[in-house]
Symmetry: C2
Subunit: 421 residues, 2 copies
């Protein structure tokens, strides 16, 4: 995570509550998610604590309010009696819990629209410690809560956020409700006018993104930003007003317009499948080194059968000859990992399936099998186009066997995305 | 995690140190791993704290020693100056740091046997706070440290373990070095005589394992045990003396001998590939609902090309007809998800590839596509045997699309494992 801040980062304590997090059943991913989400806002996680449901939460909360600029408390917002977070916050802040009738109505609507009855104990979730702002939760019944500097006057802390435990509810709430409030609490300004956007880039490394984009983004006044890199993807996180985000978007598009796949959490596989579906076009695969994992990634997405017609996993030379009509002579002369064989794999798959797009790959995943001329990590990626043309590219990817496979898959899928433009 | 304890569990605090854990780069899996590993020993994680490298570790360690029965501290054992864990432990325990020449020699051997020079700063890793027992680390240079009740006399805590940060070094050290010491420290007895073993079962659910096995295991005096379930796998963790482990093994074999794939962390894919390699037999796949992910799982393992000759991802009906010679009439009469089509997929793949074993699957992964007769989750799994026979089984698996795929894959692979017996 690279970052650029005008001043020392604010210090945050993250407290994750929930006995399930300490029983080994559930992996606690909140720490990592929040670290990535807070960093671009100029907030550093200085301590992360996981606690079971119970009174130790109060002690830890008080300690955090006294030694941190920002406190994030997750979990324990459900309707049952072991969901005590609201009560504990009210007790530590020494304010009464009050029923928020608007929140109660929202919870009632949420449940009834899904065919559930609103039970009296659900009202617990509409209790708000006085001074707390409600952060709506469109994906569940428990709203989040936010306490700003005024309510926290007697503590060191300037912002306390209380968030639901399930990641699918917590993640959007952090981006859509919390980010702006945190910036307003720490830097001043109006929370409503601040948004957080992740520009997702594929097919480019983090160091290239940083090098080319950072000077431009740094010159945009009022913009906070950071990066989050995964294998074959980089998210550029930008936080600021609409106008500031627009300026950042123009810079991202200027440098990496070809690599930008979306700003709403889009996945590359989804973008490719949706693009093909819109065009009523089909895709087939002919895999050697990825060994079925490219087809597997496509079929992990529901509805992929509209687009993906099938594939060949031609791991052995015999399979390449039999299923894709690769010539024995080409295998003998150039080897299985070669431009010629890759092109014949594409052609064979085109002729068998008649798919509009064909992806083929043949390479050396390792750990063994490399030579001086073709070291481990060498791969040929072939693309068959709707007009019948075939494009082959030679690449080299780092990483262990599984990382190599993923890089090849992302690179192959990105070729289809680019070709559809 | 089910468990069975004769008394209230001991309370542990886990402190994970390392700035990388708070920057969002690295997902902290220590909490989950340690919760699973400590539970069968009668130890419950009551608090887990993640801290950056720095002085806050000392404060937290002191607090934990004062309010916990067991303290586990991870990370910061490397040779560089920000690896301060040894110094901090010595300071908090108020004991001197002493050079352990045997440890220094081990580190020197470890490095030199891998072609590295032993640099003077490496000696840091051989410094041991007085009273600490060294826990050897065959997978790295940093040994672990253990402090028992004698050294901790002035604290509430009865056992302090200091472990290396990298999971691949930490995991075996917990099982092989720490488990026995913790039991000895908490319950008395000799650490050397106590071992921890994970019996890995596939193709059986946790509730069945618990129901059948628990009464038998509970009757073995001196045995501590627990379960760790993943999709399609259950580990039965047993801790005790060699004799006690032998008795537990006999019970595991009595009830689940067919499901037991190993006790050294074996993977089902690895067991199947190794079994076929030993027999010089081959495997091919014909996938519909798993969409290439079965082949992908096989080829995630290095050297799988010895055994796995290739596969067909026949996602569309046209592909089933073209590539596997499935009859149009069978598709029309019985549908793609049927015993007849599954059997024809196996036969087609046998005849195309000549592989000794063939796996085929056709089912409804969802979320849409289900009917009253064949609801989402229905799947036919076919196995072609070396003698040409074909076996088909109809199954139903729960879970979202990806969980469904994994359950089908594990179930299919387990059929090959069972057939090889």
């Amino acid at each position: 995570m690279a970052f650029l801040q005008s001043s020392e980062p604010a210090q945050a304590t993250v407290i994750n509550t929930g006995s399930e997090l300490l029983l080994g059943r559930t992996l606690n991913t909140h720490g990592q998610f929040l670290a990535n989400a807070l960093w671009p806002l100029g907030i550093e996680v200085a301590r992360q604590v996981t606690l079971p449901d119970g009174d130790s939460i109060k002690t830890e909360l008080l300690r955090a309010l006294e030694d941190s600029d920002v406190v994030i408390l997750t979990g324990g917002l459900g309707p049952t009696t072991d969901d005590m977070t609201r009560d504990m916050v009210a007790s530590v802040l020494d304010v009464p819990l009050e029923l928020d009738v608007a929140v109660e109505a929202t919870i009632r609507d949420y449940l009834e629209s899904r065919g559930y009855l609103f039970a009296p104990h659900q009202s617990r979730q509409a209790m708000v410690p006085r001074g707390g702002e409600v952060m709506p939760n469109p994906l569940g019944t428990a709203p989040g809560l936010f306490f700003g500097p005024d309510v926290l006057a007697e503590f060191e802390c300037r912002a306390l956020a209380v968030l639901p435990g399930p990641p699918r509810e917590l993640h959007p709430m952090v981006h859509e409700e919390l980010a702006g409030r945190l910036i307003a609490a720490l830097d001043g300004g109006h929370a409503d006018s601040i948004r957080a956007v992740d520009f997702r880039l594929v097919g480019v490394g983090e160091s290239t993104v940083t090098e080319l984009l950072e000077p431009s983004l740094a010159s945009i006044e009022g913009l906070k930003f950071g990066y989050c890199a995964r294998i074959s993807e980089v998210d550029v996180r930008c936080v600021g007003s609409d106008e500031v985000i627009d300026r950042a978007r123009r810079k991202v598009v200027e440098f990496f317009g070809d690599q930008l796949i979306g700003e709403k959490g889009e996945s590359l596989v989804g973008v490719v499948l949706d693009g093909l579906r819109e065009r009523r076009q089909t895709l087939a695969t002919a895999e050697s080194c990825t060994g079925g994992s490219l087809a597997g990634a496509l079929t992990d997405v529901g509805g992929s059968s509209d687009v993906f017609v099938g594939g060949y996993v031609t791991y052995s030379n015999a399979a390449k000859v039999r299923d894709l009509a690769v010539e024995e002579a080409a295998l003998a002369m150039h080897g299985a990992v070669s431009e010629e064989v890759c092109a014949q794999m594409v052609a064979g798959c085109q002729s068998k399936t008649g798919a509009d797009y064909v992806l083929a790959c043949t390479g050396i995943a390792g750990p063994s099998g490399g030579t001086t001329e073709k070291p481990v990590g060498t791969v040929f990626i072939g693309l068959g186009l709707p007009d019948g043309r075939i494009k082959i590219e030679k690449c080299h990817f780092r990483g262990d066997r599984c990382a190599f496979k993923q890089r090849v898959i992302w690179s192959a899928l990105d070729r289809v995305r680019q070709a559809m433009k």
